[in-house]
């Protein structure tokens, strides 16, 4: 475990991101991910979670987005001037929202594509077998086209690729999206195992806040491009607003719309 004094593996400082030269999505976002931990980034639709991950992994320019100010420091190096494949080869690997498996490639080929992110060539076969050990269901389908897999299997494949890439920092974007509760449970179990067994640091973006706070040790809450709240998960889970608006709990009574408006007013104060 790292002590608070050691510099974090990843530090995002006052990041501002603009799309198409006009739309500002991130407005001075800062967060840090210490080595060996799982850090959760929570927030509603359009808050800028995925944009944050893309700013780290270098995929922004492909969507006409740009980092206008701030820095993404990974092991002290600024990533924001690098191309995506260079970032991946430094050990930062993103599992994108919506899985993005190569549909026209089979499962094995999908996994082997991720070897481009590795440093050194050895041990690929072992790591592919490791993926099949984590996800036995994929092993049965190793010859099928990824496009023919079910949503859950595709998510397993997307995470499997990340395992083959052997990253130090895994950026996991909405792994629970569109999956049944049982599968979500399974996927999160494996995310935790990867963190413990492979020592992979994970920055996890999720809408399923309850699940994310279950596996993470620290959490950030992102609203309209800014961090509005952060802290260790134990504290976040106790927070009244988090309970109400992210965990959907509030002392048994149903919430009325007036309270939501009240919260919106308070939010404006916060940001």
């Amino acid at each position: 475990m790292t002590t608070p004094e050691t510099p974090p593996l990843l530090a995002v400082n006052n990041l501002e991101v603009v799309y198409h030269h006009t739309v500002q999505v991130l407005k001075g976002l800062s967060l840090s991910v210490p080595e060996g931990r799982i850090v959760a980034l929570l927030g509603s639709n359009g808050a800028g979670k995925t944009t944050t991950l893309k700013a780290i992994s270098g995929l922004l320019p492909l969507e006409d987005g740009a980092v206008e100010a701030g820095a993404v420091l990974y092991r002290g190096e600024d990533l924001s001037r690098l191309l995506p494949h260079q970032i991946a080869r430094r050990g930062v690997f993103q599992v994108r929202e919506g899985r993005h498996v190569f549909e026209e490639l089979d499962v094995d080929e999908n996994l082997r594509c991720a070897t481009y992110a590795r440093r050194g060539r050895g041990g690929v076969a072992e790591d592919v077998e490791k993926v099949y050990a984590y996800f036995p269901r994929l092993a049965q389908r190793r010859g099928s086209l990824a496009g023919h897999l079910s949503g859950g299997e595709q998510q397993m494949l997307a995470i499997g690729r990340a395992l083959v890439a052997r990253p130090d920092l895994m950026l996991l974007d909405e792994p629970s999206l569109g999956l049944s509760p049982l599968l979500v449970e399974e996927i999160f179990g494996i995310v935790r195992r990867i963190n413990v067994e492979q020592g992979t640091t994970i920055l996890l973006v999720e809408q399923n806040a309850a699940m994310a706070l279950e596996v993470a040790s620290y959490g950030y809450i992102l609203e309209s491009g800014k961090i509005v709240l952060d802290g260790p998960v134990e504290r976040l889970k106790q927070d009244r607003d988090v309970q109400e608006f992210y965990l959907g709990r509030r002392g048994g009574q149903r919430k009325s719309y007036r309270d939501v408006k009240h919260y919106k007013r308070r939010k404006r104060w916060l940001s």
Binding site: S57, G58, L59, L62, E63, L83, P84, H85, A88, R89, F93, Q94, R96, H100, F102, E103, E104, L105, E109, N110, R112, C113, A114, T115, Y116, A117, R118, R161, A165
Partner: protein
């Protein structure tokens, strides 16, 4: 019956050669989303490389093939690096216009270097025709067909089994994700131009040995376009099937319809008529993917 069989078999043979040319289009389109209208001119340049090696340097055919392949690969790499890479991220239509410009430039260069004269390759293949049962295949068609088939098989193996081939397919499938895998997408673009130029050079030589070469040889490239559309722009298997279908269609039309018309020339119209019909029914080609508009 023998006449029909003869037409079909020689259709298959021409079709195999068409398929090779079509694959030149497909390789670049799949990887980069650009329709390379300079494919025909890359064929022409490649054919001239081989011709020069054989006539000026008296190299044997196999050596000439290698020279042309290497030369064409260099041209492909150069074009990608100098002309297309700076345009990366621009709209596909702008890049397509640039390839049309490139085709004129290549034609001009060929005029300057090799003059506009019509040249023919020295005798390469044995003259004896090949007999397949009742069907007679002239050797100048049969051997080029075999070369085309071998090249297509080689390409298919490359895409299926090599690490780079898999990475190229991944790039074609989803560029951003391929980038995220650590694949240098720009290098894959470069490879795809090199492959396309080499394939085109082979096709040019094959066509050149049949009918001779001149700077106008590239016009064949455009005549093959219906094959590419028929098979679907992004499918190598489609290019193969499209080539063979088109070859047979052309030959049947030429054999049966041409004698009925005073002017003839049905052979040249049929591919384009088929093209229009197919686009009306399946706008993405016989084997193409539906969402072909992605970039």
């Amino acid at each position: 019956m023998d006449f029909l069989l003869q037409l079909v078999v020689s259709g298959v043979v021409t079709g195999g050669i068409y398929a090779l040319i079509a694959i030149g289009f497909v390789v670049v389109y799949k990887a980069t989303g650009v329709i390379n209208f300079a494919t025909g001119e890359l064929m022409m340049i490649g054919a001239f490389f081989a011709w020069t090696a054989m006539t000026a340097l008296h190299a044997p055919f196999v050596v000439a093939l290698a020279v042309a392949a290497i030369g064409a690969a260099a041209v492909g790499a150069l074009v990608e690096r100098v002309v297309l890479r700076p345009l990366m991220g621009q709209r596909a239509i702008s890049v397509i216009m640039v390839t049309i410009g490139l085709s004129s430039i290549f034609k001009g260069i060929a005029q300057i270097v090799w003059s506009g004269e019509y040249r023919s390759f020295p005798q390469i293949f044995p003259r004896r025709p090949i007999l397949l049962g009742p069907v007679l295949l002239p050797s100048r068609h049969a051997y080029p067909f075999l070369i085309a088939l071998a090249a297509i098989a080689l390409l298919a193996l490359l895409f299926r089994f090599t690490r780079t081939g898999v990475a190229m397919r991944a790039t074609a499938d989803d560029q951003a994700t391929a980038f995220g895998m650590g694949i240098d997408v720009r290098r894959m673009f470069s490879f795809s131009w090199i492959l396309a130029a080499t394939t085109a050079a082979l096709a040019g030589i094959v066509i050149g040995t049949i009918g001779g070469i001149s700077p106008q040889l590239g016009a064949v490239g455009l005549r093959i376009f219906p094959v590419v559309i028929l098979g679907g722009l992004d499918s190598i298997g489609g290019a193969l099937v499209g080539g063979v279908v088109m070859g047979i269609l052309e030959n049947l039309a030429g054999g049966y319809l041409d004698p009925l018309l005073p002017g003839g020339g049905v052979k040249d119209v049929v591919p384009f008529a088929a093209l229009v019909l197919i686009l009306m029914v399946r706008p993405y080609g016989l084997f193409g993917t539906r969402d072909i508009e992605r970039l």
